[in-house]
Amino acid sequence: MSSLTQSTPVRLVFWLALAAFLIVLPHFLGFHHKDLILFLTINVLVVCSYRLVTLTGEWSLIHAVMVGVGAYTATLAFNHLGLEIWFTLPLAGLIAGLVAALLCFPLLRMTQFYFLIGSFAAGEAIRLVWVEWVSVFGGTSGLRGVEAPIVFGIDFLDPIPYYYFTLGVVSFCLLILYRIEKSRIGLTLHAIHWKTPLAESVGVDAWRYRALAFIIGSFFAGIAGALKIHYLGSVTPNQFTVGFMVFVLIWVIVGGYSKFYGPIIGVVLLTIFDEAIRELEIIRPAIYGGVLILSILFLPKGLESIPGKLRGWFGSEPAPDTPSNSETRGS
């Protein structure tokens, strides 16, 4: 994040301004848009957790389903165990993480193409279980009944309180994800991405680290799923199809993924873009298809690379944004 701002006071002002903006924002929006920024906030978590999974250079197609695992867990926990959101959130994350841990054993033997297809298959299989096992998961109609709590007289079912709640949870999760990326672990994940054999030759157990990234990424995906479901009130298998997974991919690719904030740019801008083209209902997917293709062909490093390019055109050296940028400068 250090390439964004120059020095600590500037940074502080930036964060304060951003926080103020995010807090004040919903009061200026109509109902539909309040919903929108709420889901946008949740999708930021989805996209940042996906980035952790892909840090080692392997792209999975199961992430959307992990969000679903969290959603179904929260719903089942609420309906059958009477747990409130304070408990269903972490539980959703834990179950998603557990499913990911189990899937590590079959899936992480594969790399590249095989991992992509294998993760796609595993995700699709899980989704079809939700469709087929009607007595537990409700089949294609899914499950209902989940609610947001009423605390201190505030009904969290209203969009604005729920938005603040979500903002808080997502910010906390992002903080953790950021800490991981900048830590030793983040460095190791990057190293595995660039040259796995070299990393192994100095003692890195690549499998373990890939598993770690996969499990933790899935954990946060599960939390995102629970957040979503407590607001929506119902969960169906169709919310987590390949279509959603492709959206996640588009956000990450268009936004860029070599910097932590790349995917965030992607999801924010594309969500706004989506709103703008809302009237074009039927052809919307085609526009996404076009955006995706243009992005890959002409801006392969994503939107996050634009500041660097601009700096390059205007003559100054862009700061190399490498994993532990701020912390490697001696101490």
Binding site: W59, P106, L107, R109, M110, T111, Q112, F113, Y114, L116, I117, G118, F120, A121, A122, E124, A125, L128, V129, V131, E132, V242, V246, L249, I253, I282, I283, R284, P285, A286, Y288, G289, G290, V291, L292, I293, I296, L297, P300
Partner: protein
């Protein structure tokens, strides 16, 4: 008892379709090293073409099949030229581009056919072949089986007996070595995508009279094609055909006894198992990453 044999027959016929799906995908992956995620939509495009040109515009079925093949091949050529060729160094980029095409094709189909219920194309061949007084094969399906077999046979001949076929196999085995030997890899890619897309278009045209046509029918196709490709071996065309037939029979039986969803789940689980135990599949050779 009859059910078992009838299901076997149905499975074998279905295997013909699955073969067409998978062989096209494997050809494109083998030669161009890119996963064509839009392959199901190519099949869908073939089916829609039959609906528009044969059902709506009245052209005879067989010429319509030719139109389907030509149209889908054209789509494939556009994809190769503008998407796969520029992204050759990064297969993931090619895959993502194909996802973009997936969306575009689905929307095109929705625009052409509207948002309503699935379309039906009345089968041009009527009647049913009855074997031993018990087993029934609709003539339409017989026709499609015959055409599938003919197409695959022609492909086999092309790959093993012609100059281009040999070149294709050489590029699939080792692209750089083939280039060093003077093979024009661009041309070979064009041939590969043409054949792959043509097979998809043909499959779509053959399926059209047999089921529901809608913009999302490609999803099942791609899932099936992936399962078959992996189980048969990613680099192997003969493996794909063998796996297609076996999987089609397996899927048919599972559907009869447990329903289509469980059948697909089993297929996916089977695929993951194969990926774990023998990633090269039944007959494949390891594709160098």
């Amino acid at each position: 008892m009859e059910l078992i044999f009838q299901s076997l027959l149905n499975g074998l016929i279905q295997g013909g379709f699955y073969s067409l799906f998978a062989v096209g995908l494997v050809l494109i992956f083998g030669v161009m090293r890119v996963v064509n995620f839009a392959h199901g939509e190519l099949v869908m495009a073939g089916a829609f073409t039959v609906w528009v040109v044969h059902s709506q515009l009245g052209l005879d079925y067989i010429p319509t099949l030719a139109v389907s093949i030509i149209l889908v091949t054209a789509i494939g050529l556009l994809m190769e030229r503008f998407l796969f060729r520029p992204t050759r160094s990064d297969p993931l980029a090619g895959l993502i581009c194909s996802i973009g095409v997936l969306f575009i094709l689905q929307v095109c189909a929705t625009l052409v056919g509207g948002d309503g219920p699935s379309k039906q194309v009345p089968p041009p061949y009527h009647g049913t072949l009855v074997l031993f007084d018990v087993f029934r094969i609709p003539n339409q399906r017989l026709f499609s089986l015959a055409v599938s077999a003919a197409a695959l046979g022609t492909l086999w001949f092309f790959l093993t007996r012609t100059k281009f076929g040999w070149a294709l196999r050489a590029v699939a085995m080792d692209r750089e070595a083939a280039a060093l030997q003077g093979i024009n890899t661009n041309k070979i890619s064009i041939i590969a995508i043409s054949v792959g897309a043509a097979l998809a278009g043909l499959a779509g045209g053959l399926i059209a009279p047999l089921g529901n046509i809608n913009p999302h029918m490609g999803h099942n196709v791609i899932v099936t094609a992936f399962i078959v490709t992996i189980v048969g071996g990613v680099g192997s065309l003969s493996g794909a055909v063998v796996a297609a037939i076996i999987y089609a029979v397996f899927h048919t039986y599972m559907t009869v006894y447990f329903g289509a969803t469980i059948a697909t789940i089993s297929g996916l689980v089977l695929m993951v198992i194969v990926l774990i135990v023998k990633p090269t599949g039944i007959m494949g050779v390891r594709v160098s990453e």
